[in-house]
């Protein structure tokens, strides 16, 4: 059996960046990916871009995006809960990553239709994250990296300040290997609904998991049990409001619904519960995950009318549709009388809508209504009426391994000599809450490369 210098646990972007970097430095690398080949790549399969600092036009990116502006954007969404030292490291190294990615087969495309606001800050992968993952696996094969799919790592034996052994199951057999160094890049624990429920409470049973069903946090739990330093609030997860008909796992990008600002949203009793027009959707979709989670049965219902049906990105499944609100209520399983009463109250509170503007905070608000709708408040009057159900969709969890600027893990006794972490599993070291589009891939790429470099240097 091959004696590997480095075992990389996980098979997504961070794992591949680490593995390629280490192999290019001469290390013998094994990737242990828990998913079968069609599902390889973790949540990277579902990504679409990479947020990248740049001092001038770079690849598909226009103008410039400075370190300071990038950091300011990050601090805004995390409300300051950011490790600024590590965040600056990720941001400042992101610029050199883009050509590095291109050299390894990643191709970029112009900002997708409907995402023009990102053309300066985010480089979109042609074909999306799975195409990126495919390119990296091809590159990994060319570098002689071995990849084992459906290899379920169950235990890393920590002895003092070293990982002595890696145990994994493959094809029903338990294997024990003793690589010189280990890199953990196996994501968060959001696909383990029991763990999520322990952290969040019973409502988590009704959450949908937007990404891979394979991020069950097995290695994370194993390391935390052995006293490896952790970071991040276990009760925190990034949760957004998505189409209630989405699959339990792996629905990805397509399950998003952008129609809330043009709607009223009611709970299963037909009652509104929050200002749908508080801000533009990209700034609000993340709080709606929590709002829906707080409603009975963790479900919400969006109601719009014919005026608004073309104002948002198309949905993955067609909306429910009826000529009357009563008919729509029946289709959606909502109490018709309550819904009609709620809509009537809302309509009566709407005022002058002549300054309605779908992409700006237009101040078209309700008057004397609780809760108010402070923008885009137009009466729901024009048939046909359309409806969607909304559920809480979890993107990732924040609890993870604490790393330093070398991506190295530690215990209370100090550094673990041969253990590094990259990607979602250590993203909590940088992000305390909130999320900035494309930053996950930045963390994965930058820290994957650092981990690969450090582990290879140690192994050599």
């Amino acid at each position: 059996m091959t004696q590997y210098d480095i075992a990389v646990i996980g098979g997504g972007n961070a794992a591949l960046c680490a593995a390629m970097t280490a192999a290019e430095a001469g290390a013998r690398v094994l990737i242990l990916e828990t998913a079968p080949k069609p599902y390889r790549g973790g949540n990277s399969r579902h990504t679409r871009n990479f947020r990248c600092m740049h001092t001038g036009p770079l690849g598909p990116l226009v103008d410039a995006y400075s370190e300071e502006e990038y950091l300011a954007d990050l601090l805004k969404v995390t409300d300051g809960k950011t490790d600024q030292h590590l965040a600056r490291l990720a941001i400042s190294r992101s610029e050199e990553c883009l050509p590095w990615m291109q050299e390894r087969g990643v191709r970029f495309q112009p900002s997708l239709s409907g995402t023009l606001s990102l053309s300066r800050t985010n480089a979109f992968f042609m074909g999306g994250g799975k195409a990126l993952v495919n390119a990296y696996y091809r590159r990994a094969a060319a570098l002689g990296i071995d990849v084992l799919y459906e290899a379920h790592v169950t235990h890393l034996e920590l002895s003092g300040t070293r990982i002595e052994r890696v145990e994994y199951n493959h094809a029903g057999v338990t294997h024990r290997i003793t690589p010189k160094a280990v890199i953990v890049a196996s994501g968060g624990f959001q696909a383990d609904i029991d763990w999520l429920t322990r952290a969040w409470g019973p409502p988590a049973q009704n959450f949908l998991i937007r990404g891979t069903p394979y991020n069950r946090g097995v290695v994370l739990a194993d390391l935390l049990e052995q006293g490896v330093d952790s970071v991040g609030d276990p009760t925190q997860c990034h949760a957004v409001a998505i189409d209630g008909r989405a699959p339990k796992f792996d629905g990805g990008i397509v399950t998003r619904l952008d129609c809330v600002p043009f709607s009223i949203v009611v709970n299963k009793d037909g009652e509104r519960f929050y200002d749908e027009g508080e801000d533009v959707w990209p700034k609000r979709y993340a709080i709606w995950g929590r709002l829906i989670a707080a409603q009975p049965d963790q479900v919400g219902y969006v109601i719009i009318d014919a005026k608004s049906i073309e104002l948002f990105m198309p949905s993955v499944f067609p909306p429910l549709k009826a000529d009357t609100l009563k008919g729509l209520a029946e289709q959606m399983g909502l109490p018709a009388e309550q819904l009609c009463a709620t809509v009537d109250r809302f309509n009566a509170a709407c005022g002058d809508t002549s300054s309605f503007h779908p992409t700006e905070l237009d101040g078209v608000a309700t008057e004397g209504l609780t809760p108010p709708k402070t923008n885009w408040a137009r009466p729901i009057t024009e048939p046909p009426f359309y409806g969607y159900s909304l559920r809480t969709g979890v993107t990732f969890t924040y609890l993870g391994l604490k790393v330093d600027e070398h991506a190295q893990c530690s215990t209370s006794a100090g550094k673990i000599a041969n253990l590094w972490a990259a990607g979602e599993t250590m993203a909590g070291s940088i992000l305390g809450q909130g999320y900035l589009a494309g930053f996950g891939m930045t963390i994965g790429t930058v820290f994957g490369r650092i981990a690969g470099q450090e582990a290879a240097a140690y192994a050599n």
């Binding site: 495309q109 042609m126 074909g127 999306g128 699959p247």
Partner: protein
């Protein structure tokens, strides 16, 4: 057209339209993303824009075993063929060949028999070269209708297509845009210009694009050779046979070589590709068609090489029989795709 196929394509297109990750690959996605709902005509147009490069399939996070089970290259290939069959005229021939490679082989036998019969029955009135086997007038009498009737048939089919996809008045710039894409086959190169995914899963190569270009340019050169011969014959009164350094021969030999190699290479590549990402039921029809087209090229080359030997009459009959079969089957085989693709690209240029 088959409603269940269209319904399946609609389901998939709606998922694609909510994702948009593949926007940069080819002409299909910008067209798809410009719509909100997909009529049968929209789906027919998208299907004929698709070149089955498979880039979107290998990039897709929603392919089987995912429950969304997306396979856009396959469903569009099925709709594409269904559209050619639905628009074809006359209808009794529409569904006989695309999915029946054996029928194409049988048609070749019939075509060969017709030529042998013509040689025996009509023979020659003492011309030179090939005309010593079959007179020029007899050839014209056979091939003029065999050329014009399929053209008429394709024209009727294209008209039906144009109506279905809601095409408007065609302007020069639409045609220029379409020809520019077709000439370079940009839709087989992906947005990054590195080719398509075909013979080795998600690896991008230009192999298929180059094979396809060899076939297309080979065919066009052969067609140019015949046209040049016709002009020399009627306009300049210079009848065949022509020397090597003449337009008909220069076009014909280079075209024949390209056509033969391109078809041979294409069949080998198709055998290595994943059949499940294409129109499985048209597999035999596609292979038989490519072999027929390759045989047209090869038999022409052999005829040229051995034209001065005693084998010439047999070789001539084989070549003419293959050409006759190829012409007559044009509206009912994969050959139709060239016309529909160009129409789809013209229609797509009208979107801007």
């Amino acid at each position: 057209m088959q409603t269940e196929l269209l319904q399946e394509a609609r389901r998939q297109a709606e998922i694609c339209n909510a994702c948009r990750y593949c926007e940069g690959y080819c002409s299909v996605f910008p067209a798809l993303h410009s719509a909100r709902a997909f009529s049968d005509g929209d789906l027919t147009q998208l299907a004929n824009l698709c070149h089955n490069c498979r880039g979107c399939y290998y990039a897709c996070q929603f392919t089987a075993p995912h429950e969304f089970d997306l396979n856009l290259p396959k469903v569009l290939a099925e709709i594409r063929r269904d559209s050619w069959e639905s628009f074809a005229w006359p209808q009794p021939l529409a569904r006989r060949f695309h999915t029946h490679g054996g029928m194409i082989a049988l048609a070749l036998v019939v075509g060969l028999a017709l030529i042998f019969w013509a040689i025996r029955a009509l023979g020659s009135a003492g011309g030179d070269g090939f005309y010593a086997v079959l007179s020029h007038n007899a050839m014209v009498a056979i091939f003029l209708p065999a050329f014009l009737l399929p053209l008429l048939s394709i024209g009727i089919g294209l008209r039906r297509y144009w109506r279905t996809v809601g095409g408007t008045r065609i302007r020069i710039r639409h045609v220029k845009a379409a020809l520019s894409k077709a000439a370079r086959m940009t839709d087989l190169a992906a947005g990054h210009g590195e080719g398509c995914n075909f013979e080795d899963e998600d690896r991008f190569t230009h192999a298929r694009r180059h094979m396809h270009q060899a076939i297309m340019y080979g065919f066009l050169l052969c067609f140019a050779a015949t046209s040049a011969g016709t002009i020399l014959h009627y306009v300049f009164d210079i009848p065949a046979p022509y020397p090597l350094w003449s337009l008909p021969k220069l076009f014909g030999v280079s075209g024949g070589v390209l056509l033969t190699l391109g078809c041979g290479g294409m069949v080998m590549m198709k055998r290595r590709s994943d059949q499940g990402l294409g129109d499985v039921s048209a597999w035999s029809g596609e292979i038989a068609f490519i072999l027929l087209l390759g045989f047209v090229g090869l038999s022409g080359l052999v005829l040229y090489a051995l034209g001065a030997t005693g084998l010439m009459p047999v070789l001539l009959a084989l070549h003419l029989g293959a050409v006759l079969t190829f012409f007559l089957l044009t509206p009912f085989t994969k050959m139709a795709h060239g016309f529909y693709r160009l129409a789809a690209l013209i229609r797509d240029a009208q979107r801007d």
